[in-house]
Amino acid sequence: MLEQQLLNALTLGSVYALFALGFTLVFGVLAVINLSHGAVFMVGSYAALALVTRFETPLWLAMIGAMLISGTLGLLIDVLILKPLRARNAPHLIPMIATIGVSIMLTTTAQGLFGAEALRFPDETLPAGEFVIGDVHVRALEIAIVAIAFILMAVLFTILKRSQLGRALRAIAESPKAAWLLGINVEGLFHVTSFVAAALGGIAGVLIGLDFNAITPGMGQPILHKGIAVIILGGMGDIRGALIGGLFLGFAEVLSKAYLSSQMGDAVAFGLLFLILMVRPSGLFGRKLERKA
C-alpha cells in the first residue's frame, strides 16, 4: 500500500509545511522563536470547532473565522508581550521564554473550557465523498486539506516575492534598523507578520483537526516540536526551506511509521533534527550563518 501511504504523507507534510511557514516567518522577521505557535494552532482548531458546533456556521466560514481568531491572538501576543520586550532590547532568549508562558496559559485555558478529552467535528459537517483510484482510497477531505495548504502557501510566496509588502518584510529580515532608516514601518510590519503567521498556524490546526478528526488541548505540543524540526531542517527563517522541510518530514514520519514501527515516526523526526544540527546548523537549504560576535 505504498500509494496510500504516500497520499497520507502528502496530507500530513503539507500541513506541517503550512504550520512551519508561520513559525519560520516570525523567526525571519521578528527574530523570535515563538514557542506559543503550537498553542495558537490548537486555538485555531477549537475556534473552528466552536463555530461549527455552537453557531452552526458552514465549515469554510469556520475556517476563515478560525484564521481571524488565531491571527488576532498572534497580534495580541506581539503587542502585549513581544513589543515591550523589543522596546527593552531584551536578549533573544527572553521572548522565547515568555512565549512558553503564553503557550502554557492557552493550553490550560482550552483544557478548562473544553475538557481534556478529544473532541470531533460532527460527521455531517465534513466533506463526504471518496474516490478510488486503483487501490488507493482518496477522501475528498484529504484533497481539500492539501489544496487549502498549497493555495495559502502559494499566496504567501507570491506576496513575499512580488509585492511591496513582501519586499519590505524581506528588508526587515535582513536588518530591522536599516529597514527603519529607509522609512519602512517596522513595528507595523511586525504586527502584520504576527497576525499572518498566527492565522496560518490556526488554519493548520483546523486542517490537522479535520484530518485526524480529534482535537485536544495538548495537540499543539507535538506539532510545535515538529515545526522546530522543520525550520531547522529547512534553515531558520527560510520560507522555501520550511515548505520543503515540512513535506520531507511528513514523508519521513509516515513512511517510517508504516515500514519500521509505529513509535519510530517521532524518533526519526528528532533524530534527524539532532543530526542536522550537529552537521549543518544552518539547515539543509540555509545559507551559511554569519558569525555573531
Binding site: 515591550p84 531584551a90 522565547m96 508562558g101 485555558t109 528528532f270 546548523p281
Partner: protein
C-alpha cells in the same frame, strides 16, 4: 511533636519535591551561568532516575552507589554529546538540546528494560529527608565555591562576552563542556533521589514540559545569586498546593507567572541589588 508528625506525614513528599526541584533549578543555573540555555536537563534527570532505579531494582545496589551512578550516567552522556552540541549557541543550542530531550524520552518509551510507556513501578523507598538536605547543601556549597573560583570567573566572562573571553586566553569550549557535564550530573542525582521516593517513574515525567518547568523555576527566582533558583523552585512547588481552588485552571498561573516575570522582573524575584535599593528607599521615607 505530634503536630510535626501530622505535618510530616501529609507534606513530606512536598518537602522532598521542593528539595529535588531546588537541585534541578541549580543544575540549569549552572549552565546559564556559563551563558548556555540548555533544555536537556529534564532528560538528564530522566537518565539519572532510570539508571538508578534499574540498579536498585535489578541489582539491589547500595543507595550511595546508586545515587552516584545516577549522576555519573547522564554526565557521561553529556560528555559525549557535549562536544558537537556546544558548538551551537543561543536559540540553536536550545533547539538542539530540546531535540536531544525528545530523543531520550522516545528512547525510554520504546526500550524493554525501562518498561516502555508504563514506566518502572515499585521502586523501593530509599530517599530520606536528610539525604536530600545533605545533597542540596553540598550542591549549594560546591556551586558557591565554584562561583568564586577561577572556573566560576571563566564562566562569567564567557557569559558576558564569548569572543572577549576567548581572546583573554580562556579555553571557552572546555569550560562550556564542564558546565554542561556538571549540570547533567546534578540533574541526574536529583532524578535518582526523586525516583527513590515516588515509587514510580514514567517517560512522561521527563519531557519538554518538565524542561520548561525547571527553566521557569530559575527564571522566576532569578539567576543573579544561588538563592534565586532555590526560591523559584520552592514557589513553583508550593503554588499548585496553594492554588487548589483553581482546579483545572491551576497551571494557568504557572504560565502567567512566567510571562509576568519576564515582562516586569527581568532579573527574577530575588535580585539583591533591587531589594537593597528598595529597603533603603523605605528607610529614607521613614526618616
Amino acid at each position: 511533636m505530634e503536630g510535626f508528625n501530622d505535618f510530616w506525614s501529609t507534606y513530606s513528599t512536598l518537602v522532598f519535591t521542593v528539595g529535588v526541584h531546588a537541585m534541578l533549578a541549580l543544575s540549569i543555573w549552572l549552565t546559564l551561568s556559563c551563558g548556555l540555555l540548555s533544555l536537556a536537563n529534564a532528560a538528564f534527570m530522566g537518565i539519572g532516575a532510570y539508571v538508578s532505579a534499574l540498579l536498585t531494582l535489578q541489582l539491589d545496589g547500595p543507595f550511595a552507589a546508586v545515587l552516584l551512578a545516577g549522576g555519573v550516567a547522564p554526565a557521561l552522556v553529556a560528555l559525549i554529546i557535549g562536544a558537537p552540541v556546544l558548538r551551537l549557541s543561543g536559540v540553536y543550542l536550545a533547539m538542539a538540546t530540546l531535540a536531544f530531550g525528545e530523543v531520550v524520552r522516545i528512547t525510554i518509551l520504546n526500550l524493554e528494560i525501562t518498561g516502555g510507556p508504563e514506566g518502572l513501578n515499585g521502586i523501593p523507598l530509599a530517599t530520606e529527608g536528610w539525604h536530600i538536605a545533605l545533597l542540596l547543601a553540598l550542591t549549594v556549597y560546591g556551586l558557591a565555591r565554584l562561583r568564586r573560583s577561577k572556573v566560576g570567573r571563566a564562566f562569567e566572562s564567557i557569559k558576558e562576552d564569548e569572543v572577549a573571553a576567548r581572546l583573554m586566553g580562556i579555553n571557552v569550549d572546555r569550560y562550556k563542556l564542564l558546565a554542561f557535564v556538571l549540570g547533567a550530573f546534578i540533574a541526574g542525582v536529583a532524578g535518582a533521589l526523586n525516583a527513590h521516593f515516588t515509587f514510580f517513574i514514567s517517560p512522561r515525567e521527563y519531557g519538554f514540559e518538565n524542561a520548561v518547568d525547571i527553566l521557569t523555576m530559575t527564571v522566576l527566582g532569578g539567576t543573579s545569586s544561588l538563592f534565586g533558583p532555590i526560591l523559584g523552585a520552592t514557589i513553583l512547588a508550593l503554588l499548585p498546593e496553594v492554588l487548589r481552588f483553581l482546579h483545572d485552571f491551576r497551571a494557568l498561573v504557572n504560565g502567567a507567572v512566567l510571562v509576568l516575570v519576564v515582562l516586569f522582573l527581568p532579573k527574577g524575584i530575588w535580585e539583591p541589588r533591587r531589594i537593597r535599593a528598595w529597603l533603603k528607599r523605605n528607610k529614607g521615607d521613614r526618616a
